[in-house]
Subunit: 139 residues, 12 copies
């Protein structure tokens, strides 16, 4: 079983900035912990601040992976183009968010991506990613 | 560790009706499976079609349980009163939905409850409940 | 043929209050007249001011009756939960209103229930109920 | 007792087109059945695709008939001018719709005419017309 | 100097219906009075309930008259097509309304025609027409 | 003179929860103080988390009491059904709120009940109830 | 017969500024022309840029004049307070506008005052005022 | 203890105009009654139709009085500037309204001031002012 | 192959009016050019300012022609009734517009017809019609 | 004559995915057909999933090509930045869409680009591109 | 070179109130500093809480000064009348705000004045005024 | 002191295109002038049409520069992702716009970035940049 986690804009700063919202752990550190917890599966990782590179990655990953765990960051709320890539993908895609987007600004309550994914996990901090993996290995 | 699952209106019909949306498993059957999977914790269950009884249950459960897993069904989208009960509760509350509410009618995209919960899990079928338990035991 | 009429909040006051809107006949009195006019069928009756009890009644009536005539009163305009019960019911459901809801406040123009029923009859006073029966016996 | 049924745009196609929405019976055929069922009353019929001719017909019918059964078709949702004709008519007017307009596009949920009519009957197929007649003869 | 008054739907009923809104004078009677008051000019008159005939009349009148006094009735609030005819006319057009449209329903506050006319006169009863003539002869 | 105070959902928690919003006094304690301050009148009390029971109570209290002091809590902002009960009641009804609902979320600025009551008192903490009593005894 | 014209903010600049919108005639010059045209009546004049002074003037003029011709300028679109003064005045009030407010910005299409006046005259340049006088002397 | 009552536009007409909405008592007369009822405190009074003078008065009164009772009349619904003065005042401010603003036009349901005051009292006629005083002396 | 072009209101003025928007060629002249360019097919033409006659024409043309090229003019933006005729037609229908409706007023950005047609061609001047023909002969 | 076709996000998947919406032909295959059909002109091609690269391409192509045929895919509905590039380009730009965007989700009905292009062609499948070429060679 | 700074409502309180938003410096003190920094130009100052006096001042200053620096305070968001004065002024006008109005309430994001000014400077505290002067002397 | 100016999409065209909006000076030319005017500080420059590269640049610049002057061009109005980068940056960021965005289309009045910056300077042409520098050196 092969999974890829795709992270969108500003998520490369995890652990350094706005730690009251996102915590103090870097994503690389957390990723290591998940990989150790689920040794039987491959978990790859891609991050970009560029909307189109996220689309590229979703298109390619659809052919190479069983599932995609996608946190599109700020593009979640504005990108029809990423949503189109998600909709046309044959891989299972799970949308995750670290913070509770519903207790933040109104424009974060809208996700263009959500209607097209398998499921959505919101607000559990970095644990949102592990819950997605947990779902996938039991599917 | 003691958890209670509170289900709202029409969720007593799970497994019988609209199986294309909610699947063919009754909640009681599924609950048995979760309890077997997590034998070290207590998982109680309450269901009501009455908005005020759900409020009663949240108020009482806040004193008796560590955590509440809440699927308020149709009241999710209309009940300020349940949201107020959630907001004033001291227990951790996790909101779950069986179907992907974002691929359904517009009025289902709004949750009065979501801003006040620990996290939200949407669209994984009955597995949404198990992921909530999975989070709670690792918290 | 078995039919149940389910009336929602404040409809227990029919004939006593706001007679300019709803007329001076009590529902019990009117019900007697309908039963006499259609002696070959069973017409049962349930009223509650509690949203969840109306849901309970719709769920149970779906198994026991051929058809439901539903006037959800004020809940018509606010209840996703009753609409969900209607949507998942296998009985034919007809929505009726005594007054012309379209010549009243804007919030009464919206019915969450209407998209899921067989048909809707509005504004004929208590005769709205009899027209529903008339339809059902000729269906 | 004299009644006229006024049908608006595209209702001349009944029975030929979009039979999943409107059924396979032509209106002429159905009209014959109603007339046979209610032999004691006169039921005339007028259809036009032209908004202004419907207004003309409402104005004239108000003087010649006791009641009007009006299905203004697509003009229901856009015509202030027909609604003004209805409002100023002294005859009883009943609004009918063949399909359930509330389970269709949003713009069909609005009727300019409804606030000014005696009652509204929606979604019973062609039977919507007979229920209107049934009401009128018992009024 | 040649003027034409073009009246829209339901204005043929003036003096007979809704006299609390529109007064008890028929338009023909009033027109006679205006013609007597302004004997030096020609004042023609056209009324139709049909939107397209009003457009026809505006198109033709633009060639034959110096000015048009237009009361488009209910079409005022809904007709882009009449507004387009007004916009492309070379004659001066004045919009008049008998009743105060701003003290009535919200949908009457919007005029598609108003941005394209010389001036607008609202709410003076039938005198609205005479004020328009008064303006035109002094222009 | 007989008055009843009807409190809606979550108001049974007064004094225990969210004390920054609602203060530290339990309602029972406060009620005792009011009764002592106004010994000449009867002040009864009813609380329920169930919307329909509040409707039941308003209906019955209209026959048994001179006046009702109503704090419908979260139902204030969503319940057409309670508003209908208020509208059809013959007793004087005063709406009260403990916190300043206008300095909180937008959805709390709308009251379905307010258009139908004698007066509204907002934001004085528990003193809002005493001001209502003060008004009633001087009316 | 005594009339007062009340002009609102920036109308003291007439004839000097934005002459493409308002023309090149000063109001004083125009006023002289009207007074000469209607010698039998008194036409007084008041202008202020201050909202509350316009309210003062309306209140006082209601006692001293038969009619008020009011051009509230920019306050037309924002002032509930002036509209309240107009509504409670016993004098006839006519609203006038020099330019066609419906061919300008959207916020100028709304008048708080219009629902409460006798009639409205818009877009005839300064002639709008004379038409108002013309109406009043023939009333 | 020193209190000032600040009344906004058109409230100088109290007792003379629109008596169905505001009653027949002049404010001066009523003020005398309140002063007699609460002899131990100073109650001053200011009224202006000018928005900026109300701001001036709030600014000065904040330094000279313990509390302000403010009825900003029509400015309640439109004035950010008065709301800013209220927000920056150190005195306790209570907002009052004579009529029930929630049973009137939609634009009266919005108060810019309400989020910044101690409490709000609406719809008790002139008694709204006395209830405010009653609150202040018991605070 | 038989095609009909149906033109809506004011398009009979093409070449005479508003030439900056619509060009200087009359439609008859342009039609002759298209017919010469595509001699192997029949291209008929119908124009009316009357909404209902356009509906009549669409209904009849559906039986007599392979395809309809429809420019409904101002009715494009307001007519549910024409859209219903288009939806129920079995002929291929192509919607065309001469000017770029998206660079004009907001209300022109909405087409009721567009969801039901084969394709839409906008803004190429009269060439929009020829492109539609070009598509149809290559389909 | 030199033309460039610029395709936006996900259009590199044409022929492989969502064939019910976009058909089974790859764009490269189709492009070959167009080039053969119009041998006298140069038709270049650029595709990118990255919004800014599309802007780069529009800026450069404006200098190198006579015309641009632009299908901005999902960016059509969200990109002010691409629209700005289009607006400031000196080349003729034609907007094309393969599917009928008006029969899909509401957010696809809005194009930021459309107000600034020469013309728009929507819904003819891949033929939309050829019609654009057809227009350009006859311009 | 002659400049006038015009300050609107509540800005007379600068340095005394809400110092977290507006700082602790009085405007008079700050003005002295600017005048010292730019000794070659005249900088006059006007403040009023009255909307109409601000209009008066803009009208007069347009004749007497080269440029106006305008902070209309709360009137920025509500005053069409001030915006009209700005629009018709021949002097250069620069709009300034002390606090960042975009990080405050939604109603502060709208400025009626902004479309008509030379430029806008927001959020730099009192330094916003000096930047305006800095621009003007280099223009 | 080190400053970087980051320019967004289409700003590489400055001086070449739409000179009525943006002037005839290229940014490089203007930059040279600013550097000469403020020789004591380092002013670096970055421009990209790619949203994600602007995010990259903001993230990196936050570590390397004291302040950022950001003109995000068209992304200002649509990019949550850039706004997130701005919000999480520790450097002072000033938002500038060359043209007056409030006198252009409605969608340009909204800035996602503005709530998170130190200050905003709008509409002074290229001088907007210099004013930002002027602020920073005096901070």
């Amino acid at each position: 079983m092969k999974i890829i986690i795709i992270n969108g804009p500003n998520l490369n700063l995890l652990g350094n900035r706005e730690t009251h919202l996102y915590g103090r752990t870097s994503f690389e550190h957390y990723l290591k912990k998940i990989r150790e917890a689920y040794p039987s599966i491959t978990i790859d990782y891609f991050q970009s601040n560029i909307e189109g590179e996220i689309i590229d990655s979703i298109q390619k990953s659809s052919l190479l992976y069983d599932s995609i765990i996608l946190n599109a960051g700020g593009y979640t709320h504005t990108s029809v183009a990423i949503a189109d890539a998600v909709r046309s993908s044959k891989a299972d895609i799970i949308e995750v968010h670290i913070s509770n987007i519903f207790s933040r600004e109104d424009f974060r309550h809208k996700s263009f991506i959500a209607p097209h994914v398998k499921g959505i996990i919101i607000g559990f901090g970095l644990e949102s990613y592990r819950l997605a993996v947990e779902y996938l290995i039991n599917e």
